[in-house]
């Protein structure tokens, strides 16, 4: 599988299977210091119809147990790009916004802010599902930080970079 991750200074041998590509990657900051060293598991899960359907908040009964107004802390959108490109773009955006990409595992990516806000550090988790070849469904959920910052990043940076006409 052609993937530009591999051009970024691959340090260990990728092991290729039918569904997964396992690679280790070092990312270096502008001063040459090592920022992150994490493993990628390639291709995200292939979704079937029931996986997609089960994403509905209509199945989330936790609202019954809580009085809190459900804030818009979750954004979903589609991207007609390859998984590798999506990851790359997310990383680029994170770097530009001074956010740390903490973990990538399968179809999951986490972005973490560096500054403590009133609701703690901004913490966004992205889950990427493959629906069809190079068509991905992405869910971004906010776990820390405030909604305004979260929605701004999603709507002004991430969605424009990843969305196109599907």
């Amino acid at each position: 599988m052609e993937n530009s991750w591999f051009k970024k200074g691959l340090v260990s041998q990728p092991r290729k299977t039918d569904k997964l590509v396992f690679a280790s990657l070092e990312i270096h900051g502008s001063l040459g210091e090592k920022i992150n060293d994490f493993k990628y598991l390639g291709k995200p899960d292939n979704l079937n119809a029931f996986d997609i359907i089960s994403l509905s908040p209509g199945f989330d009964l936790s609202g019954l147990f809580s009085d809190d107004v459900i804030e818009k802390d979750r954004v979903r959108f589609m991207s007609k790009q390859s998984f590798g490109n999506i990851i790359l773009k997310l990383e680029e955006i994170a770097k530009g916004l001074m956010l740390k990409v903490v973990k990538i595992d399968g179809g999951l990516l986490q972005m973490e802010g560096l500054k403590d806000g009133k609701n703690g550090v901004l913490d966004i988790k992205f889950e990427i599902f493959e629906i069809a070849t190079d068509v991905h469904f992405i869910e971004a959920k906010r776990f820390g930080g405030d909604n305004v910052g979260f929605l701004k990043i999603l709507n002004e940076h991430i969605r424009p970079a990843l969305m196109g006409v599907v």
């Binding site: 089960s54 509905s56 209509g58 199945f59 019954l64 147990f65 959108f77 629906i131 069809a132 068509v135």
Partner: protein, 213 residues
């Protein structure tokens, strides 16, 4: 269920004996008591009649009693065990029990099968799955080309419809989710294992009658 007795001038919905409900479910007596507090608050939010109406259910789930959501409607229908258009306390506890981490997998299989069998024919048909897919996409303000939808359906039915008759029967469903248990992750709410600590705000009024032996 749903008749009243007067206690100190307050209307209180009658309920099945919490000990009986606890014995039939994975909940402890004090958890059933806590669920009763929750039930009281949900069932009185629009009309104070000791029963949860569809409006009250949607209000509790989404904080919006007019929210349109196909899947929440399906959940409501299944919780409305006696098909009366309302959920009583026994229905509430027994239905939530299916979502308990300790509930038998077979119960989750049965519940989810009924959930997805929109017209109750005893089969999950392709057009029903398509309808649900489209509904989900619409909820998320997303769209997919029809041919992509058909491809997803093809792949799904290739996996699930073992006898290739265009529909999924209960035994095919059972085999399918047994092989792919993550499909039933919506059927388990881990926090039900410990509701009294995870959701302390509605326990404040809980009156557990300690048995004095």
């Amino acid at each position: 269920m749903g008749c009243f007795y007067s206690t100190e001038g307050l209307r209180v919905p009658s309920r099945e004996d919490p000990r009986k409900l606890a014995s039939q479910t994975s909940f402890s007596v004090s958890e059933v008591e806590a669920l009763f507090e929750l039930f009281k608050s949900i069932s009185s939010s629009v009309v104070d009649d000791g029963l949860i109406s569809k409006e009250e259910f949607l209000l509790a789930m989404f904080k919006n009693k007019r929210k349109k959501n196909l899947f929440a409607n399906r959940i409501f229908s299944l919780f409305d065990v006696k098909h009366k258009g309302v959920i009583d306390f026994g229905d509430f506890v027994r239905s939530l029990d299916v979502f308990h981490p300790k509930a038998p997998f077979e119960d989750k299989i049965n519940f989810s099968f009924k959930l997805y069998d929109l017209d109750g024919t005893g089969f999950i048909e392709r057009h029903e799955v398509k309808l649900m897919l489209v509904a989900l996409l619409r909820e998320s303000e997303l769209r997919l080309a029809d041919e992509t939808l058909e491809m997803i359906l093809d792949n799904t039915f290739l996996d699930a419809d073992a006898n290739r008759d265009g529909k999924i029967d209960k035994s095919e469903w059972r085999a399918y989710v047994t092989k792919n248990p993550s499909l039933l992750k919506i059927m388990t709410l881990p926090y039900l294992r410990d509701i009294t600590t995870t959701f302390p705000s509605f326990v404040f009024n809980s009156q557990v009658e300690e048995e004095i032996t």
